[in-house]
C-alpha cells in the first residue's frame, strides 16, 4: 500500500523513508525515494524499551527536518512518536484490528500515541470503529480510507509473458503455467487463499472448508477434482505441517498446496477459480481485492473490513464468521456456476466496483490529501463500501490548525 502511494507522490513533496526492518520490497522503495534508512536491531531494541518515553534525535545526519511524519502501521507508531520533532505533524495510518493492534501497541502504551498523533488514517470502517468506539479517539481525527491495489494492467506479470499478448491470453497462459508447477490438472477446480499461514488468517479452517466443498460436490455427483492453494506459508512452519497432516488424513484426502510468500500474487491468483477469505480478523484483506479486480470470484467471512465492500455488490458471498458449511455451499455454487451469466455478472459487478474505488490511482490522491492537509479530496464522493450511498464515514475534514 505505501509503495503504491509513494509511486504517486505529488512532485512538490520530498519523502525520507525510515524502516524498522528490511525486506524484499526495500529495493523498490529505494528506486522511488532514494536512500532508505533501515534501523538496526539495537535501535529497535531501544524502541521496544523506551519507544513512547524517549525522544530520538531526528532527522539524522544529512536529512531535512520533516514537516509531516507518517507512521505506516501502529507497529511503527511508537517509533514515530519518539522521532517526530516538536511542531511537526504526525499522521498514523492504521492497518491493524483489535488482536494485532493489542499485540503491537498494548493498551498500557497506547495513551501517548493517541495523544500525539494529529490524525489517523484508518484502513476501512472496521479499523475506524476500533479507533473511535473502542479507543476513544475523537472522530474528527480519524479518516477512513480503503486499502488500495495496483490495477492489473500495471501489475507485474511473470517474466515468461510476452508484451504483446492480450489480457485473456495472458491469464490463460499464467493459469496453465501455475497449475503445471503445482501438479494441478488443468481441468481441476482451484480454491485459493492468500495470507500468512496463521490462525488469525484462518488457515486452520482451510482444510475443513476444502473437505466440506468436496463433500458437497461428491454428493452432487461432481467428478471434477478440487485443489486448494494457500499462498503465504513458511517452510517447516508448525501450522503448515499440521495442515498438511490433516489434509492427508482419512480415506478422502484433500489436495492441498502450501506456497511460500511471494511477490508473484498474479501467478497464483491466475490459477484460481475462487478466492476465499477465512480470516478471524483482517482489517482490509488486500488479497480479496487483488482477486476481485482480476475477476476471480470471492467469498468471505463477515470478519473484517472487506466484508462491507463485498456485501455491497455481492451480499450472498459474505457468510457469518466461522460458518464453514455456509461458505462451502456458496463456494460450491460459485464453482459450479462459474461460467453462467448470473454468477459472472455478479463477479463483474464487484470487479468494476473495486476498480472504480480501490485502485491506487483512485486512493493515492485521497491518501496524500489526508497526509498533507487532513482533507480527503473525495469527501463528497461515493462511499467505496456502498456503491449506492454517498460517503458517510469516509472522511472528516478538519479545520486547519485544530487537533
Amino acid at each position: 500500500m505505501l509503495l503504491s502511494m509513494l509511486r504517486r507522490q505529488p512532485p512538490e513533496v520530498t519523502v525520507q523513508l525510515d524502516l524498522l526492518g528490511g525486506g524484499p520490497l526495500e529495493g523498490a522503495f529505494e528506486q522511488i525515494v532514494g536512500r532508505v534508512r533501515t534501523r538496526s536491531a539495537a535501535e529497535r531494541s531501544f524502541l521496544e524499551a523506551f519507544g513512547t518515553t524517549a525522544s530520538i534525535p531526528s532527522p539524522g545526519p544529512g536529512r531535512a527536518r520533516p514537516d509531516i511524519v507518517v507512521a505506516n502501521t501502529l507497529a511503527a507508531s511508537r517509533w514515530a512518536v519518539a522521532a517526530t520533532p516538536r511542531g511537526s505533524t504526525l499522521v498514523c495510518h492504521v492497518h491493524e484490528l483489535d488482536g494485532v493492534a493489542e499485540r503491537v501497541l498494548p493498551t498500557r502504551r497506547r495513551g501517548r500515541v493517541i495523544d500525539r498523533v494529529d490524525r489517523f488514517i484508518a484502513a476501512g470502517p472496521a479499523v475506524e470503529a476500533m479507533l473511535t468506539d473502542r479507543w476513544g479517539v475523537e472522530t474528527r481525527r480519524v479518516h477512513a480510507l480503503p486499502e488500495a491495489v495496483e490495477p492489473p494492467e500495471r501489475a507485474r506479470w511473470p517474466q515468461h509473458g510476452s508484451p504483446d499478448e492480450t489480457g485473456a491470453d495472458s491469464v490463460a497462459r499464467v493459469r496453465r503455467h501455475a497449475r503445471r508447477s503445482l501438479g494441478i490438472p488443468t481441468d481441476a477446480a482451484v480454491v485459493i487463499s492468500v495470507g500468512a499461514c496463521s490462525p488469525r488468517k484462518g488457515a486452520d479452517r482451510f482444510v475443513d472448508l476444502l473437505a466440506s466443498i468436496g463433500g458437497l460436490r461428491a454428493r452432487s455427483g461432481v467428478e471434477q477434482p478440487l485443489h486448494g492453494v494457500w499462498v503465504g506459508c513458511t517452510p517447516d512452519g508448525t501450522l503448515e505441517r499440521e495442515l498438511a497432516l490433516d489434509a492427508r488424513r482419512s480415506d478422502r484426502p484433500v489436495s492441498l498446496h502450501l506456497i511460500p510468500s511471494t511477490t508473484d500474487v498474479d501467478l497464483w491468483l491466475g490459477t484460481a477459480d475462487l478466492c476465499v477469505g477465512v480470516a478471524r480478523e483482517d482489517p482490509y484483506p488486500l488479497a480479496l481485492l487483488e482477486a476481485a479486480i482480476r475477476g476471480v470470484p470471492v467469498v468471505t467471512f463477515a470478519s473484517g473490513g472487506a466484508a462491507d465492500l463485498i456485501a455491497s455488490t455481492t451480499p450472498d458471498r459474505v457468510v457469518p464468521a466461522g460458518d464453514i458449511a455456509s461458505m462451502a455451499r456458496v463456494a460450491e455454487r460459485l464453482l459450479r456456476t462459474r461460467d453462467e451469466t448470473t454468477a459472472d455478472l455478479a463477479t463483474e459487478r464487484l470487479r468494476r466496483h473495486v476498480k472504480r474505488t480501490h485502485t491506487a490511482d483512485v486512493i493515492a490522491p485521497r491518501w496524500w490529501g489526508l497526509v498533507l492537509a487532513g482533507v480527503d479530496p473525495d469527501a463528497g464522493g461515493r462511499s467505496p463500501w456502498s456503491p449506492n450511498a454517498p460517503a458517510q464515514a469516509a472522511s472528516h475534514p478538519e479545520e486547519p490548525g485544530t487537533r
Partner: protein, 394 residues
C-alpha cells in the same frame, strides 16, 4: 515375599488434561488396590505444577515439581535446563545441579516411566542404568510438538517397553520402533448410577427452556477442533434453532480468538460433569485425539458421544455409527442432528458405548494392566536386560 519396584514417573505437567488425569487415576488405583506385596513405590517428577498436584500427591510416595505452574520460577527451571539452551553456561549447570539435588526423590529407581512425550525432557534426570518405559499418549501432531522425530526414535529405541493408550497410537509407534508395544489406555472411574443428573442451567436469553445442549471439552486448540465446533454449531443451529453449544475448557485466545458466535465458552472446571452431567450429546471434534478421556467419561454417564475420525475412539464408536469425517461439516452436522432428533437413537448409542466403557476402560480394569506392564518391565529378562538409559533423547 517379593517387594515391588521403585518407579519414577516423569511427566510434563499436572494440569487437568488427559495425560496427568490418566496418571492420577492409575496412581489412585495403585495406592488403594494394588497387592501390598508387589506395591513398590511411585515417585512422580513433573516439570510444571498444576491443579492436579494435591490429588496426585495423596496417591504417590513423592511428588517433585521442578517449576511452578506459572513458569516464572527461573531458578527452579534450571533443573531441566539442558532442555533449555539458554541455561548452558557453567553458572546455569551449577544451579541446575543444586536445584535437582535439593528436590530429587531419595529412592533410587528400578524403573523410570516417561508418561506422555512431554515428560521426555526429564529422562536426563534418571540415573544411568535404569530401565525405561515410555507410555505414549500422543499421535503425530502432539508428538511433533513434544519431540523432534530423531529424539522420539531415540527415546523409543532406548525404552525397555513401550505402552500406547490406543490402537491408533500403537500403529503410530510401530512405524518408529521395533520395540514391542502394549496398549494401556486411559481410564474412567466408575459412576454411581443412583446419583441424579444435575439439570443443565437454563438460559432463556440464549435458548428456549428444554433446548438440546451439545458439549465439547478440552483445550480450545486447532488439534482439539475448537474452530470446527464453531462451524458445527452454525450448521446444526440452522436445522435445530435454539440448540446450545457449550465448550468446556476456556475461550480460544491469541490468534485463535473467535469473534462472538454461537458457542458458549466455559472455563475449565475441577468437576466438569457437575456442569455437563445433563447434556444431550458430547461431540469430539478433534483433528487428532489418541483417546479423549472426556468421551469415556461421557460414556460412563450414559451420555451419547459422536466423534471425528481422529484416533482412539474410531474402533469404539465406529461400529456404533458414531464416527464422522469431521472435516466435512455438513456431514458432521447431519449425524449430530440425527442423534438430537431421535431419542431412541441417542439412548441406544449411549447404552452401547456405556457398556464398552464400563467393560474395558474402568480404572479397576486398566489399573492392573498398567501396573502389571511396569512390573514386568522392571524385571530383568533376556530380552530387556540390555536396554537401559545411556543418553537422554533430545
Amino acid at each position: 515375599m517379593m517387594s515391588g519396584p521403585t518407579v519414577w514417573i516423569l511427566l510434563r505437567d499436572l494440569s487437568r488434561t488427559g495425560v496427568p488425569t490418566a496418571l492420577e487415576r492409575y496412581a489412585r488405583w495403585h495406592a488403594e488396590t494394588a497387592g501390598r506385596s508387589e506395591r513398590g513405590s511411585l515417585h512422580v517428577i513433573a516439570r510444571f505444577g498444576g491443579p492436579l498436584h494435591h490429588r496426585l500427591a495423596e496417591s504417590v510416595s513423592s511428588l517433585t515439581v521442578l517449576q511452578a505452574h506459572d513458569r516464572s520460577a527461573r531458578w527452579a527451571n534450571a533443573a531441566v535446563s539442558r532442555a533449555d539452551t539458554h541455561f548452558r553456561s557453567k553458572v546455569g549447570r551449577t544451579a541446575q545441579r543444586r536445584v535437582w539435588a535439593a528436590r530429587r526423590p531419595r529412592a533410587t529407581p528400578d524403573l523410570a516411566v516417561v508418561h506422555g512425550l512431554g515428560g521426555a525432557a526429564l529422562a536426563d534426570l534418571v540415573p544411568s542404568g535404569v530401565r525405561l518405559v515410555t507410555h505414549v499418549h500422543e499421535l503425530d501432531m502432539a508428538a511433533a510438538r513434544a519431540l523432534r522425530p530423531d529424539a522420539l526414535r531415540s527415546l523409543l529405541g532406548s525404552s525397555t517397553s513401550v505402552l500406547a493408550v490406543s490402537a491408533a497410537v500403537e500403529n503410530f509407534v510401530k512405524e518408529l520402533t521395533p520395540t514391542p508395544v502394549e496398549i494401556v489406555p486411559g481410564s474412567v472411574d466408575s459412576v454411581d448410577p443412583n446419583v441424579p443428573r444435575v439439570p443443565w442451567p437454563e438460559d432463556p436469553t440464549r435458548a428456549p427452556p428444554g433446548s438440546a445442549v451439545v458439549a465439547a471439552c478440552g483445550d480450545p486448540s486447532f488439534r482439539k477442533g475448537a474452530d470446527r465446533f464453531v462451524a458445527l454449531a452454525h450448521e446444526v443451529r440452522r436445522r435445530r434453532p435454539g440448540t446450545r453449544f457449550v465448550w468446556v475448557g476456556g475461550r480460544p485466545t491469541g490468534g485463535f480468538a473467535e469473534p462472538t458466535g454461537p458457542v458458549e465458552w466455559l472455563e475449565p472446571s475441577p468437576q466438569p460433569w457437575t456442569t455437563l452431567g445433563d447434556v444431550s450429546l458430547l461431540v469430539v471434534p478433534s483433528r487428532e485425539d489418541p483417546l479423549p478421556l472426556a468421551a469415556l467419561e461421557a460414556g460412563a454417564r450414559s451420555i451419547p458421544v459422536i466423534a471425528t475420525d481422529c484416533g482412539g475412539l474410531t474402533p469404539l464408536l465406529g461400529p456404533l455409527d458414531a464416527v464422522v469425517d469431521g472435516r466435512d461439516i455438513e456431514a458432521f452436522a447431519d449425524r449430530v442432528a440425527d442423534v438430537l432428533t431421535s431419542r431412541d437413537r441417542a439412548a441406544r448409542l449411549a447404552a452401547d458405548f456405556g457398556r464398552i466403557v464400563t467393560r474395558d476402560y474402568s480404572t479397576d480394569v486398566v489399573g492392573p494392566r498398567w501396573w502389571s506392564a511396569l512390573h514386568r518391565a522392571a524385571r530383568p529378562t533376556a530380552t530387556n536386560a540390555h536396554r537401559r538409559i545411556r543418553s537422554r533423547p533430545r
